[in-house]
């Protein structure tokens, strides 16, 4: 009897502990590491190349919000901390910042534009020479990758019966980026436009569960990388059209 009572007290204590805020753990897991933004180039390869050559300068990131370290922001929390019934509903918003990404973003975007152009571009491209006088400048004026996280559950204790349930979920996250680009020849603009893309993360299924928070960060970074891929493809396609004329 005494043993059962001990277990019941232990179970109740564990139930109460379940309602403790997950913020600290989420924050530590989400912010402690970095994820790679590299992606697979999926565009069709163009084998016919012209003599046109474009020099791509190092892009600049003008969206200063993204330079911050990223964040886990509290949205809402509700706790019913009774001994016999204990429920909780914690909601946060997780946001990726530049320090959470392994790659140096301007260098990465420059390399991606070059790689994409070598695949689907009809022109030669590099970051060194400027034989034909064509220069491509890119400014990333808006980018973000964020999404909700929730931790909802209950623990109910009645005499020797203990019931509990916890549901941890993340998503749908959304990543967005907007590139402003300018193609010029001897300082004269011949093409200037803006491209933007967004990618949403619909489901998140990460195993093992211990990697859930880190996995969420990696997934948001992956989505951001996907928007870079789309934007880069659009820019190269637009330059292809222009240089074909």
């Amino acid at each position: 009897m005494a043993c059962r009572l001990r277990y019941s007290v232990l179970a109740a204590a564990l139930g109460l502990l379940g309602s403790c805020s997950p913020y600290q753990r989420l924050y530590t897991d989400f912010m402690k590491g970095r994820s790679s933004i590299r992606y697979i180039h999926t565009s069709k390869k163009e084998f016919k190349k012209t003599d046109n050559r474009v020099n791509v300068s190092l892009p600049v990131i003008t969206d200063s919000r993204f330079k911050s370290a990223g964040n886990v922001r509290h949205v809402k929390s509700t706790v019913i901390p009774l001994i016999v019934f204990n429920s909780w509903d914690y909601r946060y918003e997780c946001e990726v910042g530049q320090p959470l990404i392994i790659e140096n973003l301007p260098r990465f975007i420059q390399a991606s534009v070059i790689a994409e152009s070598r695949r689907s571009g009809t022109f030669g491209i590099d970051s060194v020479s400027n034989d034909s006088g064509l220069t491509l400048e890119i400014a990333v004026d808006s980018l973000s990758a964020k999404g909700p996280y929730s931790n909802i559950g209950f623990a109910s204790y009645l005499l020797f019966v203990f019931l509990s349930h916890r549901d941890e979920s993340a998503g749908p996250g959304v990543a967005y980026s907007r590139f402003h680009y300018r193609l010029s020849r001897a300082e004269a603009t011949i093409l200037e436009s803006t491209v933007s893309s967004s990618t949403s993360l619909t489901t998140l299924s990460i195993s093992p569960i211990s990697k859930f928070h880190e996995g969420y960060r990696a997934n948001l970074v992956e989505c951001l990388g996907d928007t870079f891929r789309k934007n880069t493809e659009k820019i190269i396609a637009r330059i292809n059209l222009l240089l074909k004329k």
């Binding site: 790679s36 697979i40 180039h41 299924s205 880190e214 990696a218 997934n219 992956e222």
Partner: protein, 159 residues
């Protein structure tokens, strides 16, 4: 005594841990095998592809060896043997088995296999993402492209 039991149990768990790698036939939907690193053994590659898939996934290695030996196509033999060695965590042997064959064989799955071996061997000097990019470009088969993408995600994001 207790410690011995726990150690034995841990060793047993480690030995019986299911492999991340799996073989499927060309009729199986890839969504049916989430979190598995898949190879497609198509009927066009060798006779009785389905039977080989069953043997691989059921770890029936004695029967598998017997039937592989009976194959006349040395490329198909090596492909199957490499999958077996990869599942049995003999990564270096798996790599050596297929090293001499062209990456484009079996719809570029040999390229994927080689990259998998290098990943498991923790070959830090190799740009694995680039290897999977090459595999993506190499194949025309959309299902194999999907396999490459999931490998890339695993290497890049750990997902």
């Amino acid at each position: 005594m207790k410690i011995t039991c726990i150690v034995s149990l841990l060793i047993l768990c480690n030995c019986t841990a299911p492999s991340r790698y799996k073989a499927v036939t060309d009729h199986v939907q890839l969504s049916e095998t989430p979190r598995k690193k898949v190879f497609i053994i198509k009927n066009g590659y060798l006779p009785n592809a389905g039977r080989f898939v069953e043997m691989i996934n059921a770890n029936q290695w004695i029967r598998f060896d017997k039937e592989v030996q009976a194959l006349t196509d040395s490329r198909a033999k090596s492909f199957l043997q490499a999958i077996r060695l990869l599942i049995q965590k003999e990564y270096f042997s798996a790599y050596r088995t297929i090293e001499a064959y062209s990456d484009t064989d079996f719809d570029c799955q040999l390229k994927i296999l080689k990259a998998d071996c290098l990943y498991e061997l923790k070959a830090d000097s190799v740009d694995l993402q680039n290897k999977y990019q090459e595999a993506w470009d190499c194949t025309e088969d959309s299902r194999i492209k999907s396999i490459v993408k999931s490998r890339f995600r695993f290497v890049n994001y750990g997902l």
